[in-house]
Every structure is written in structure tokens, then in C-alpha cells.
Amino acid sequence: MGTLCCVGEGAGGYRSLADQLRSWPDDRLHRLLTQRSDLATPAPHDFSQLASRAAVRNSIARALDGLTRGELCVLDALVVAGQTTPAELVELTWADPAFVTTTLHRLLDLALAWESPEGLRALTGVGDALTGGSEGGASGLRPRSVERRSRADIDAALDVLEPGARALLEHVVDEGGAAKPGAARLGLRPEDAETPAEVLLAHRLLVPGGSLQPGLLVVPGEVGLALRDGRTTTAPIDHEPVLVAEPRSPRLALSAAVGAAADVVRRVENLLDWWATRPAAALRTTGLGVRELRAAAVHLQVDEAEAALLIEVTSAAGLIATRADAEGNQVWVPTEDFDRWRERPPAERWSELARAWLASPRLPGLVGERGPDQKPWNALSPELSAAGMPEAKAMTLAALAGLPPGEGLASGTGLPSLIARITWQRPRRPRTRPDLVAWAVAEAARLGITGTDVLTDYGRTLATGDDPAPLLATHLPAPVDHVLLQADLTAVAPGPLESDLARRLHQVADVESRGAATVFRFTTESIRRALDAGWTAAELHAFVLAASRTPVPQPLSYLIDDVVRGFGRLRVGVAHAFLRSEDESALAALESHPKASSLGLQRIAPTVLVSSVPIDVLLPRLRELGAAPVVEGPDGQIRVGVAEGLRARAPRTRDSADPARVAARHAAHLVSVISGLRDGEEVARSRPASASAPGGGVLSALREAIERRGAVLIGFTDHQGVINERAVVPLRVEGGQLAARDRDAERDDPDADRTYAVHRISRVVPL
């Protein structure tokens, strides 16, 4: 607040924005470069360039995008005021003085306003960038004239206006402060004026736009202010819309959220396991076709909207990617990261998905809707994203986190109030905000971040950017290490299974019902599959006995034996081309088989045969002989069986999804930028005062002059190739053109405004 006091006392101010920035301590610069990150890339040489960059239209627009409606209103008041003191600014805005001062501080921090010797000013480009009407914080008033009439004078003029003229004036002010003159004549005295417009012109309440708005009549800012009783707006600007919330049962809310979270993890794993063996065909545009989406929804027993969300989140988390299948068609399959992901505890798995979702600009909510070309949007199609989505998600969670614990959005009115609040917080972008927020709320519920629209405690952690896994883990049921076997050949896991046990159970039994618990069913096929995967009867019996907390039902033991009865017993080794079997007589039979002579079989132990034939020849020959061999690896493990699911390489663009790493990298960058600036300053100091450096130097000098509203001497090459010099007051730089006014021109000389091509200007000397 110290700086502001200085200004209020009229004791200071800076010659230019660059000067002001130069005077800032490092931490304040750091704040600026953090909040307006575009200023730091590429690193600016010196403060002139930094200040110049801060005044570029695009950069200003980006900075404004991050302001609330209240902040935009204050900034607008600053633009209307032209240059002012903090005290006057408080008077001009209809808001709590504390709000105005805080906001002003923030605007200065953002280098959207600066302290000139004459008073506070907004950057020149701000006025043009403040668009979007009252929703966007623009009051619609023009900047006050430099030489303006006193308030009393204007009030007197307003008082004598007939109602028609006053209504017209109010209309013009409300519609943006500019109007076409039509047939109205200029330069009349009040008593000669006939139409309301002429009356206003005569009273100088409406004046010609001059060179900036040629052919238009404008209402000077001070008149607009007088009409609005000295304030820029007709309503208070610092009233942030409140969320309509209602209390919910905390238990129900948490249980709903945790249940959904557990479901999400389970379904993603289920889907990817499925896609690993039956990859989903990708469209030519890499999207996922309607048929594949529907198949996935059916497989997961969810609706298509939820399937689309899961698939998008999975993709955002880098768990799926496309690759060519055997026929060369592009298919979606799990990435290697999936293997790493599935090894982790459920809470961490969820955390990874949820954080990927939070950072993802994807719009699964649109899947199935028809686009502008009447074609339905496909999941995973590249265009299905919106840059504003991550912000909408973050703001939604932040808004929900602002509610007291146990309160959620009220049904019906809650969502509109949330949209209103977020629109107030970020009024400028984007027009689809209501949709984005509604999707964010729906998706957060589906992912289990919220339950009955109450943000969970781990959801709060997620919203603040921390890892929600530890908190979520406390809510998730502890994994169980056993199943209950029943006589109807089912095994019920009364809770989430330990991953190792789960994987083995999946090999030997089919899943019948999924959820918090899992119901497995042993069937002839599932046992046979286990045998195919290398299990032996003894292992199966031992496994079911070990896994079960209850006695193994007789029908299950019988089933296992029954299936084993008809299953092959041979194992074949790759490394040494050996055959071994517990069944000695089978080996003997094989060895002495008349058709086996070409295999070069030789018995090296009662249960082991070796063959001189390569394994790829040996295997089919053995099968021809009616044996059912299985391949054994060098470590003694069975190698056949479970077909390896296809994997694609994980996309390496995922670094941006890790907020911590991004933040660290960004901070390091800023530190180097700031030290670079200071170094650049040393260099600049040794340069002559005239900025003759090409490109950036001229531009910076011109922009600085614009902000100062000061005059410069420019040297430029004219159309004849002659080098000229002229003292001008630069007005704006845009599209490579400088608009400037001759310094010594008369105030109302319309020809004094000229444009110069910036690339022809060779030097700029401040006057």
C-alpha cells in the first residue's frame, strides 16, 4: 500500500512503466511474470522491452481474461478516469473502498496500470481490450477529456435538458457512448438547436469524435459520469454471486463419491484389459467410432456418456494410445504405462486418473452430440477439446471447496448459481462457459470427486493441486486376501482383492459380478484356461485351498479333477529342446512311437526327453503325434498360456500433466528471466538515450512514450527515401504502424494525426 500512498501524496510516480518495473523488487517482478507468463517467454532483454511487451494488445487481453468482473470494473473506471488518484478512483467506483484499493494493487502488480507522475493510469491498450459490455466489466463510458468541464458545469447543462434530449443522451451512454451524427448539424448555439441531438451537441454533452472516431459523435466520459451520479456503473460492482448450497448427509456424500471412485478405477482396468486382447479400431481421424464406444459401454455396463468420459480420462492419463495392428489398421490399445499403473494401489490409480482429468481440455460431454456439420462427435477425436476446460474444472472445484464441509450444490438452483459465480470470476472467456461448468460438475460426480454434489475431502486436496491418494486410501476398503468358496462353484471376494490374488483368480475363474465385491465362477472353461496358462492340478487345488477361508466344496475339487483328467501333461523346453513330464509312461510311449523317429528323441531322465529338432518343428510334430505339449522357459516357468496383451508406447507429452514438475520448471525459468532483466539493464544503461536499436528498441521506446503520453523525436525514412525528423506524440502502435500526432499541432486540427510505418523509423529520442 506504500506505493499507493506515495501517489496519493503526489510525491512520486515514474517516468515510464519501464521505470516503474525497474524499481520493483525481484519478488514483485516474479509475481508479475508468474501471473502474466507470456511476458517471460522469450526472455526479455531489459525493462523497456518488458514494459513494451506488457502493453501489447494480445498480452493485455490475456491478462484481462484472468480478472474478475469486479476487477475489470475498477480497471474500466481507471480507463474512464484517464489519470487519477486512488482516492478519486474509490469515488468513481460503486464498491467497498477496501475492494477498490486491493484491486488497484492487483492491477498495478499485473502492470495493467502504472503510476505516472500525473497519477494512476491504465495502459493505453486496456481501453480497447475492455470489450464484452457490462458482463465483461465495461461501463461503456468514454475516457474523460483531458481538458474537461467541471462537474457543476455539466450538471447545470444536464438540468436544463428537455426529457427527449436527456433520454437520447442516456441511451447513447448506455449503448457505448458513441452515435452517428445523422442529419444533426454541428456548431449550433443552444437556442438554435432543433433536434435533441443538436441540443446535446450545442451543450457540448455530445462532441465530435475527432480523429480517433472520425464521423462519430461521442459522449465525453465526464458527462457519462455525471449522468451516473459520479460513478462509472449504475450498480455495485463488488457483489460476487453466492453459491446456492444445501447441507447433505456427509455419510451418503462420501459413500457415493468413494463408490464412484472405486468404480472408475475398476472400470478403467476392466476396459483396458479388454482392449489389450481385443483392440478398439481407431477412426481415420484417430477418434473412436460410435460402434466401439457402444461396445465399450456394453462391456462396462455403463451408459455411453460414462464410457466416453472413462475413455477420455484414460487417454488423458496416457494409458491408451494408437498403434497398428497385425493388418496395419490403427487401433487403440493400452500403453506400457498401463502395466505400471495397474501395479499401484487403487487410491493412487484413481489419483492419477483424476489429476489427468483436471488438466485435460477434452470435452467428453460432447460425445454423441452433433457438431456444426451434423456429424456426431466421436470420443478421442482431436478437435473435441476446449482450452477453457481445465480452467472451468479448476474453478468449479475451487468454488465447491469454498462451501462449508457437508454442503453441496442445491438441486436445481445450485448449478446456475455456480455458473453465475464462475462467470463473475472470469467474465471474459469463453462463451461456452455454462456448458463447460455443467460438464465439469457432471464429470466430477462420475469420477467420484464429488458425491451428491458435495466436494469430498480428497477432492479438496485434488483441487489444491496436492495428491489426493493418501486421503482417498483411508476411505477405500482395505484389500482382502481371501475368497469364500461355495458349492455352486462361485468364489466371492467380499471386498477388493489383493492384486496378486485377483490376477490369479482371473486366470482360473470367470467374473460374474463386479463391484465392491467380486463374484467369480469356476467353469470347465475357466479351469481349462488355467491349465492352458500352465497351472497343474496340484497347484489349482493348493491355490483354491489357500485362497479360501472356507473349506473347498467337494463339487469344486471334483470339477478341477474332471477337467484335468482330459488335459495334456507334457512340457517342452525352449532352451535345450527338452521334453519333461511327470508321466513316465507317456514319455516312454512317445519315445517308442513309430512316427517319432525323425524327432531324435532321447530319454535323459525318467521324466525328461531331449530332442534334436528345433522347437518350432518339434512342437507341431509332437501335436501331430497326439500330445498336448506346453512350453517352459529357462527359469522353469510356463511360457505359454496367457497371451500377452498388445501395448503401445506411452505418449511422451505427458510432462505437462504433472503440475508440480511444471511449476518447478516455471519458477526456475522466471528466476533466470529476472536476473537476465537486471543484466540487460546494465547493458542498456551504457547505451545512448536515443533508442536506435532496430526492432525491439524502437518499439519499446514508442510504447513507453505512449504510456507516458509524452512526446518523442522520431527519425524516419519517408516515401521518397529522405530521412526526416519529426516531434510527435505517439498514440498507438498497431500492425506495424505507429499512429502519432504532431506535437505542435492545434488541438482540433484533424490533419495532425499521421501514421508511420514502424520499420521506417530508425530512431526515437524522448523529448
Binding site: A257, L484, Q486, V492, V519, P555
Partner: protein, 554 residues
């Protein structure tokens, strides 16, 4: 997370851990709205279905109670979508009501205009309705009361029937409780039915459904029409009614293929009613023959389709359905719900068995290996012949003899599907045979002799599946069945579960239920179905090889 006994799955199944201390309370709490699907030894599976939830609504439970019950007993988080679905489903019942209007008669009324508009726009329904009385009320043709309810259920907006019942022609009927009393669950069942107006009582085979029917008649005290599956069953109903109630021989009529008596209490068979001659049902008049005050449907799960259509016209009369299972092989559970009524009473088999009202059973599957010659002929047989070939293998007869030797002296039934096989067995075992061709009189005689102990062994075909009361049977040997039908399995097991008197040692009998199956054939595949059913009902089930049997290990 609480430590409840219940796990709610997202596919709407509920897993109940029976060994949990709260399991009994939980079972009681969820029974009104969840259908018991399987009850093996450790974890029982219930399922939430729209019909089950509407049954609960009809019994006066609301969605909040259901949700609360689930949350109270659930061990883990309950999927939110499921709770929403429960609430929405339950809210659908009773939005529409059938009422009796003082001046206009039967009307369809609704408190939710949008729903009424929706159903009025349905093509199937518009024909059943008359003029619109006001925004919320529409006239209903009285004859369409049943059809309308059926159609509304299909649309997912089941109507609650408040239109009441005609009293019917009064007729005094009392229970004659001399030397026996109504068991608690029988009394509860009859009362639940009476207070509900119409509906279905689900009790296991052998639990005394006939007596529940008699108790309902004693409540109604009106002329009664009883619909049963076949003539033998009709006779048994008659005997039972004579024994249990004040009715006399003259008051009970039989309406079957041979006899056509219409008396204050008339017992008719499904078969005679559904007989069609020249495109019409000549025996439809039976329904209008008297002003019936109560209609009893025995074995509702077998009710043939034409009877549904006839029942649709009888909606003003009280109806009670009796069955051991609501599962219908034809999937018409919804019609039972809309036409007979919601489930009014249900008790799991095991509970009643635990109370000693039905006998515990020991179920064993015996697998025989086909000799090579048979295997060859099996392998080359036409697919439709295979089951018969496998089921009728002569190997089975040796196993039956072994089993009979093991249970010498115990009353035994040998049950089969194929007549040739049964005839052969009867000849080998020198036992009387009852098939569809056996005259009713002969059947009666043989059953009576079996009951009295004169005959210790009967070979019966599927005629014995239903409604034949053979309390003395202790052993049943099933040699073939109709393609693994679960319903048949329930019925056959039911033959055994009627508890006899305690033996001299005070021990109640343990029923033995054997199924003889040919290994590696479709017979074994069908057996798996039956095996699963029995295991799901909670019966201990073992599989043994025929060789072990002859070797004397069991």
C-alpha cells in the same frame, strides 16, 4: 466404512454374508424388496428388480426405507446410481391408481398429470379407456381392468388397484383345527394375503401351501374356485380341504375331464379350462357359473397363458396364488404381478427347514461312465437323440440298484423322463410304475399304498412332479429329467421335503436325493444346471463316481 453384512454391487445384486452377526436382521430388512436369487452356504445373493421394488411399494415400503436399509447394512460405499435408480423405480408405482368412482364406476386416476398423459398416448392403452372425466381421471371399461394393469406394467408405470373386490356369494368355511394347528408362517401368509387383497404367497414345496389356501378360504368365507395343475392334485386338494376345514363332501365339486361338478367350492384343472374346441374355450363358463368370492391358483409359476387372459377378466374377485418359486421359465413374472397380484408372503426354504417343517436333504450326483460301445453310438447320434441316449444308458440301472440296496427299507421314488427307461427299470426292480397313461384311480391306489407303507418303491414319470403329497418318501433317485429344468428340480426335491413323523429315535428324517448322470455327455451338462440350482438353494451337494458307490464309499 461400516462393517455390515451386505455388499451392494453395481449390477444390482446384493451379497449377504450369512455368517455375519447382523445377517439375520439384514435378511429380514431386505427381504421385502430384494429377490433371493441364490442361497448357497456362505454368501446369499439377492437382486433388486423393478418387480421386487414394486412388490415392496405394494407392501407399504417406500424408497427412503429401502435406501436407508441398504446404507445401514452395506459394508462398502453403495453405488450412487443404484440408489437413484431405486428411488426412481419405486416412485413409478402408484402414480396411477385404479379406483371406484361413486358415479362413473371404474376409473384410472393419477396425481401426476404428465404420467397420465404419457400413458394415454400409448397405443396399446387407448383402446381400454373411456372418456376423460377431468384432467386427472379417465374412465376404464370394467372388462379391461386386468389388461390395463398388464399394459401399464409393460410401460413401466404399474397401477395400484384400489378398486376393491366383490364379496361374492357368501359360504361359511371354517378351519377345523382338531389335532393340528396352523403354523405361524401359514397364518402370517394367509393374513398378509387377506390384507393385501390379492397376491401371491411363496412357500417352499412341502411347507403346506394347501393349508394356506384353506386358511385364505376361511378368511373369505365365500364360494371359491380352485385351479390346480392336474386331476391327482385336485383329489389331494379335496382330501386336504375335507380334513382341514368344515367343508363336507357335498360342498366340494371337481371340474375335470371326467367329472363336471359345480359346487360352492369347485376344484378345476388347468387342462380342462384351457381345452380349446373349434377355436373357443368351452369351459370358460365355469368362471361365471357362480359368483365366486375367491379364486385360488395353485402352482402359479405353471399357470398357462390362456388362464392369464381369463384372469384378466376376473380382476374384481380376490385372487391368491400359491407357488414355491416366482421364477417362470417363460419369463412372465410381470403378468403374475399385474394379474394375480404382488408377492404377499415369502419365506426362504432354509428358514422353514431350520424350523423343522420341511426335511433337510442330502443331494448327491452319481456319475456313471458310459461303456465304449455306448460312447461310440452317442458320439455318432443325431444331436436331438443324444440326450435320450445319454440319459437312458443301461449303466444307470446298476447304479439305481446299488442305491436301493444302500437305502433298503426306506420309501423310495425313482423318477424319470423317458417311458422306455422307466418301464425297463420298473421291470428290473419289480416295482409298480406310474406314468401319464396310468388311470387316475390306479394312481390314487398306488400313492395311497406308498403312503401307508405297503409299497416301498415307486417308479414314476414326470406326472409326479407336482402337487402330489407323498410325505413318507425318504429317497428319490432321478434317472433323467427334462433338460436340466430348475423348476422340475425344485418340484422333485419338493416330493422329499415333506417331513414325516419323527422316527423311533426321535430324529427327523433326512431326505436323500440322488441324480444319476452319464459322464462326458449332455446329460452331465444338464446336471450342472440342476446342481447349480440345488447349491444355490443351499443344499449340500456332492458328486461321486459310480465306481466309488459300488466300492461302498460315500
Amino acid at each position: 466404512m461400516s462393517d455390515g453384512p451386505l455388499i451392494v454391487q453395481s449390477d444390482k445384486s446384493l451379497l449377504l454374508e450369512v455368517d455375519h452377526p447382523q445377517a439375520a436382521d439384514c435378511r429380514k430388512a431386505i427381504a421385502p424388496f430384494a429377490e433371493l436369487e441364490r442361497s448357497p452356504e456362505h454368501i446369499h445373493t439377492y437382486r433388486l428388480t423393478p418387480l421386487g421394488l414394486w412388490n415392496a411399494r405394494a407392501a407399504g415400503h417406500d424408497a427412503e426405507q429401502v435406501v436407508d436399509t441398504l446404507l445401514t447394512y452395506s459394508r462398502y460405499a453403495v453405488p450412487h446410481a443404484l440408489l437413484v435408480d431405486v428411488a426412481e423405480t419405486m416412485a413409478r408405482y402408484g402414480r396411477l391408481r385404479l379406483e371406484k368412482h361413486p358415479t362413473h364406476g371404474l376409473v384410472l386416476a393419477s396425481s401426476d398429470r404428465a404420467v397420465l398423459e404419457e400413458v394415454l398416448r400409448a397405443k396399446k392403452i387407448s383402446g381400454m379407456l373411456g372418456n376423460r372425466l377431468d384432467d386427472d381421471t379417465v374412465l376404464v371399461h370394467p372388462s379391461e381392468r386386468g389388461n390395463l394393469k398388464q399394459a401399464l406394467l409393460k410401460l413401466g408405470w404399474p397401477a395400484e388397484d384400489y378398486a376393491g373386490y366383490v364379496d361374492g356369494e357368501a359360504h361359511p368355511i371354517d378351519l377345523a383345527e382338531d389335532g393340528w394347528t396352523l403354523r405361524d408362517y401359514q397364518r402370517d401368509a394367509a393374513e398378509s394375503f387377506w390384507h393385501g387383497g390379492s397376491g401371491v404367497v411363496v412357500l417352499p414345496c412341502g411347507a403346506g401351501k394347501t393349508i394356506v389356501g384353506a386358511a385364505a378360504m376361511a378368511q373369505a368365507r365365500a364360494t371359491t374356485l380352485i385351479l390346480v395343475t392336474n386331476t391327482v392334485s385336485a383329489r389331494q386338494w379335496k382330501d386336504e380341504l375335507l380334513r382341514r376345514t368344515s367343508l363336507t363332501e357335498e360342498e366340494i365339486g371337481e371340474y375335470s375331464g371326467t367329472v363336471k361338478e359345480i359346487r360352492p367350492v369347485t376344484i378345476a384343472t388347468y387342462q380342462v379350462i384351457t381345452t380349446k374346441r373349434k377355436g373357443v374355450y368351452p369351459h370358460l363358463e365355469l368362471f361365471d357359473a357362480r359368483d365366486w368370492g375367491l379364486i385360488v391358483y395353485d402352482e402359479v409359476h405353471l399357470l398357462p397363458a390362456p388362464i392369464f387372459r381369463m384372469t384378466a377378466d376376473l380382476q374384481a374377485r380376490r385372487r391368491i396364488g400359491l407357488t414355491a418359486t416366482l421364477v417362470r421359465e417363460d419369463g412372465r413374472e410381470g403378468d403374475v404381478f399385474s394379474l394375480i397380484g404382488p408377492k404377499r408372503y415369502d419365506a426362504p426354504w432354509k428358514d422353514i427347514e431350520a424350523q423343522g417343517w420341511i426335511a433337510p436333504a442330502d443331494c448327491v450326483e452319481v456319475r456313471v461312465t458310459l461303456p465304449d460301445a455306448s460312447r461310440m453310438s452317442y458320439a455318432t447320434a443325431e444331436p436331438e437323440e443324444r440326450y435320450r441316449l445319454a440319459a437312458c444308458t443301461p449303466e444307470k440301472s446298476r447304479v439305481v440298484q446299488d442305491l436301493l440296496a444302500r437305502h433298503a427299507g426306506q420309501p423310495t421314488l425313482v423318477i424319470g423322463q423317458y417311458l422306455e427307461q422307466l418301464e425297463e427299470l420298473a421291470a428290473t426292480l419289480e416295482a409298480p410304475l406310474i406314468t401319464g397313461q396310468t388311470t387316475v384311480k390306479e394312481r390314487q391306489r398306488l400313492f395311497d399304498a406308498f403312503r401307508s407303507g405297503e409299497i416301498g418303491l415307486l417308479v414314476v414319470s414326470k406326472v409326479a412332479n407336482f402337487s402330489i403329497d407323498l410325505p413318507s418318501a425318504e429317497v428319490a433317485i432321478q434317472v433323467s429329467g427334462s433338460f436340466g429344468s430348475r423348476q422340475e428340480e425344485a418340484q422333485r426335491l419338493g416330493r422329499l421335503l415333506r417331513p414325516g413323523d419323527p422316527g423311533p429315535d426321535g430324529e427327523r428324517k433326512v431326505a436323500h436325493f440322488y441324480t444319476v448322470v452319464a459322464r462326458d455327455t449332455v446329460d452331465a451338462e444338464f446336471a450342472q444346471n440342476r446342481q447349480r440350482f440345488l447349491a444355490e438353494q443351499g443344499y449340500a451337494y456332492r458328486i461321486i463316481d459310480a465306481d466309488e458307490l459300488s466300492a461302498g464309499q460315500l
